[in-house]
Assembly symmetry: C2
Homo-oligomer: 421 residues x 2
C-alpha cells in the first residue's frame, strides 16, 4: 500500500510547541478584539466556485484549490469535455466569504456589524521560506459604518492587540501607516493623469520603498506617460517633511479632485488614535502607501515593524465591494492581520519553545505496580488536575532517561517514578 | 456577475451566538484534556489522495471531497483520459491524518504521545437534520502505550470533560459503555462461527439496540449461518444480568479463544475509572457494544446520554492501524468526541443564546458630536476595556431602537447615547 508520510506540498504539521504558541496568540487576538465588540464568526472553508472566480480576489484567483464535482455531476462534466469539473473551491482569503456571509445573514446581525474571523486560507502558490499553501489569517471588519469611527476602532484595537502580543518578547515599537485612496487619486489627477491611468500609476507608486522616486520615474516613462504629468506627479512626492499632515500634503491639490472632508476625516483618525497608543507605537500619514488590492475606496492602513521588511497587518475601506457581490451597497472597512508573520516574529525573539505552564507533573509507572497503588496515583492526579496542574500518567519506558528528556522539552518539570515496590 | 449568497450545500455559516457557544465548548475541551497531558496538534485539512483511499476509512472513503490537480499536471491527467484528476482530498476523519503525522514526526514527540486534535472534517454525505458536510471533530489518542493505562486516562479525561461541559446545563448523568474486541471475537468463535465470519456476525450484533436479539437472529439466519452456531451465539447474549462483569460474562468462553489477561485488564479499567467519576456518571461493561470501524483490536468504548439516541463519544484500541499505514507497528488507543452532538445537547437545554458576559457597554454616537467629545469617549472605553469590559463604539443609527435590540441580542446591557449637545 502506497503511503506518504509527509504532509501535502507547502503545508505543515504543527508540533505541540507550535500549537501552544499559535493557540496562545490566537487567544490574545480573540480576547483583545472581543473587548472592542468584535464578534467571532465562521464560514465553511469551501465556497461556490462562481463566487471565488468573480474577479474580486485579484491574482489570488489563479491560486485556487478547486474541489471536484462528485457522482453524476462529475460524469456529466467529464462527458461534456469542456465542462467545469469543480463546483467548489477552498477560500483564498476571508474577504470574499465575509461578503457572502453578510449578504446571507444581514437580517440577524447588529448594524454596524463588527466581525472577527480567524481561519485558514489556501493558495496554490509556489511554496518558499515563510510562504505556505495553507496558512492562518485573522480579519476584523466593520460593516455598515460609513464614518471614520470604523477606522479609529479598527486601528486602535489592532495596535492594542499587537502591543499586548509583542510585549511578551519585549517588542514595544511598531508603526501604523495611513493614507487615503481619495488622496492618491486626487494627486494623480492633479498631476495631469487621466482617470483610467490611475490604477497603473498607483502600481508604480506602490514600489516606492523598493525602487524609490527615480525607479518610479523610470517606470512611468517606460509605460509611456506624458513627461509633464510624470514630473508634476513626482514633485508631489519629493522632499516630503517627516510627520506631514494630510492637510499639508494636499495643500497644492485642487478641491475639485478631492471629495469634501476627506483630508479632515483622515487627520481626525490620526488625532483620535494617537493618544490611545502605547509608548513606542506610532501612527503616521504616509502619502506613498498604496496597498495592492483594487477594491479600496477610502482610508488605507498598514502596520510595519523595525527589522522586518514585511507588513504585519494591512487593510482599508472598501465601500463598493460587498455591493458588487450582493447587489446591495454596504460600506465596509477592514484590517487583515498577518498571523503567520506574528508567529515568525515571536519565534525569532524566543530562546525556548513556548510553554503554557512550568509545573507539569509526570507519573511514570512501572509495569507490575499493583492496581491498588495505581488507584492511589489516579486519585492524587485528580486532585492536582482539579487544582489546575497538568498531570500525565504513563507507563515507564525502558529508556526512562529519554522519556524524561522528551517530556521536559514539552514543559514537564516534576517526575514521580512509581516502582513495583 | 453570478453570486450565490448561501453557503455550499450541507455547510453552515456560524452566527456570533453559535460561535460563542462553540468556542466556549472548545476551550473547555482544550483545558480539560490539557490538564491530563494531552498535547494539541494540527495537520493540514488536505491529505494526499493516496492516503485517503487506502481502505482504512471504511465507507467514509466514498465521501471524499477531492481537490483537483493544477496546471500542467491537470492537463496531463485530462489528456490521458482515464488519469486521476485529483492529487489531494479533504480529510474525512482525524485518524488517518494522525497516523501520517505520527509516522512523520515520531522522533520529535514524547513516547507515549498523548495527542489532542480539534478540527473540521468533510464528508460529501447526503445532508440531513444535524448531519453536515463540514463538521468539527475532537479526537484524543494515546500512541505508544500498550497498557490499559491508556484507556483509563482516555476515559477518565473524557468523562471529566463531559461532566464539566454538561454541568452548565444541569446535566449530570451519562454512561460510559465498554467492551473488548477480543471478547466479541472469542464469543463468536465459542459459538462456532469461523474466524472469517466474525466481521459479518458483529455487523448484526451491532444492531442490538435497534432490532434486539430476535432481529439479530433473523438476520444471521438470512445470512445463511449454521443454526447451531446462531443459537449458541444468542444464548451468550440472552438474559445478561445488569452490571455483569467481563469476567462473569466470559465464564463460559474457552480460554483458547481469549488472549490471556484480556478480561482482567478490562475489569481493571472499570475498577480504576469508577472511583474517578462524578456522581451521576456510570461506567458499565456492555457485551453488545461493537463500534463500527474494522480497525479496533482491544477495548472499545462509547458514551451515551439519556433522551438522546446517539452516542456522544466513542473509541477504542487500534494497535495495528498505524503500522498498516507507516510500515512500523505502533500501539494506539483513542476517543473521538462528537463535538456537534455536544453543541446540539447544550443548545437543547439553553433558553437563550449563549453569552460570554452580561455587562457589555455600547456607546452610540450621534454624527455631529465634536472630536473632543469623541476623544473623551475613546479614553473612557480604553479604561473599561483594560478592566475587562467589552465596549463597542458605534455611530448612532436613525432607527436606534432596532440598533439597541440587535445589540441586546448579542449580550449588550448598558447603552450610552452621545448626542451633539
Amino acid at each position: 500500500m502506497k503511503f506518504i508520510k509527509t504532509p501535502v506540498k507547502g503545508m505543515c504539521d504543527m508540533l505541540p510547541s507550535d500549537m501552544r504558541l499559535r493557540e496562545h496568540i490566537l487567544s490574545m487576538i480573540k480576547e483583545t478584539y472581543s473587548s472592542y465588540g468584535f464578534m467571532q464568526i465562521e464560514t465553511p472553508v469551501m465556497e461556490h466556485i462562481e463566487n471565488l472566480t468573480s474577479k474580486q480576489g485579484g491574482d489570488n484567483e489563479k491560486l485556487i484549490f478547486k474541489v471536484m464535482k462528485r457522482g453524476a455531476e462529475l460524469s456529466r462534466a467529464l462527458a461534456k469535455g469542456d465542462g467545469e469539473l469543480a463546483d467548489n473551491g477552498l477560500r483564498y482569503d476571508l474577504t470574499v466569504p465575509l461578503a457572502r456571509y453578510y449578504a446571507n445573514n444581514k437580517e440577524k446581525l447588529p448594524a454596524p456589524f463588527k466581525a472577527l474571523q480567524m481561519g485558514n486560507v489556501w493558495r496554490a502558490d509556489n511554496p518558499q521560506k515563510g510562504r505556505f499553501r495553507q496558512f492562518t489569517q485573522c480579519d476584523i471588519d466593520i460593516l455598515g459604518d460609513e464614518t471614520n469611527l470604523a477606522e479609529i476602532e479598527l486601528i486602535t484595537a489592532t495596535a492594542d492587540m499587537l502591543s499586548r502580543i509583542f510585549a511578551e518578547v519585549q517588542i514595544t515599537d511598531f508603526t501604523v501607516h495611513i493614507n487615503d485612496r481619495q488622496i492618491l487619486r486626487a494627486a494623480a489627477l492633479q498631476a495631469g493623469f487621466a482617470e483610467e491611468e490611475i490604477g497603473s500609476v498607483l502600481i508604480s507608486l506602490d514600489k516606492f520603498d523598493k525602487i524609490g522616486l527615480e525607479g518610479i520615474k523610470k517606470e512611468l516613462f517606460e509605460n509611456g506617460y506624458d513627461a509633464g504629468a510624470v514630473e508634476r506627479y513626482l514633485g508631489l512626492y519629493t522632499e516630503i517633511p517627516e510627520n506631514i499632515s494630510a492637510a499639508a500634503f494636499c495643500e497644492g491639490i485642487s478641491p475639485e479632485y478631492l471629495p469634501q472632508g476627506t483630508v479632515e476625516a483622515l487627520d481626525e483618525i490620526l488625532s483620535c488614535v494617537r493618544p490611545m497608543l502605547n509608548p513606542g507605537v506610532k501612527i503616521v500619514f504616509d502619502p506613498t502607501l498604496v496597498r495592492g488590492m483594487g477594491y479600496y475606496t477610502g482610508p488605507i492602513f498598514e502596520v510595519s515593524i523595525d527589522d522586518y521588511n514585511f507588513s504585519i497587518a494591512g487593510g482599508g475601506r472598501y465601500d463598493k465591494m460587498i455591493g458588487k457581490f450582493s447587489g446591495q451597497d454596504v460600506c465596509a472597512s477592514g484590517f487583515s492581520i498577518g498571523f503567520e508573520r506574528i508567529v515568525t516574529i515571536l519565534k525569532d525573539h524566543m530562546e525556548n519553545p513556548f510553554q503554557i505552564s512550568e509545573n507539569n507533573v509526570a507519573f511514570l509507572i512501572e509495569k507490575r505496580v499493583p492496581m491498588e497503588r495505581r488507584q492511589e496515583i489516579f486519585a492524587r492526579a485528580k486532585e492536582l488536575r482539579a487544582a489546575g496542574t497538568t498531570v500525565t500518567i504513563q507507563p515507564m519506558k525502558k529508556n526512562v532517561k529519554r522519556q524524561v528528556e522528551l517530556l521536559e522539552a514539552e514543559g514537564y518539570t516534576k517526575f514521580e517514578k512509581v516502582y513495583e515496590k
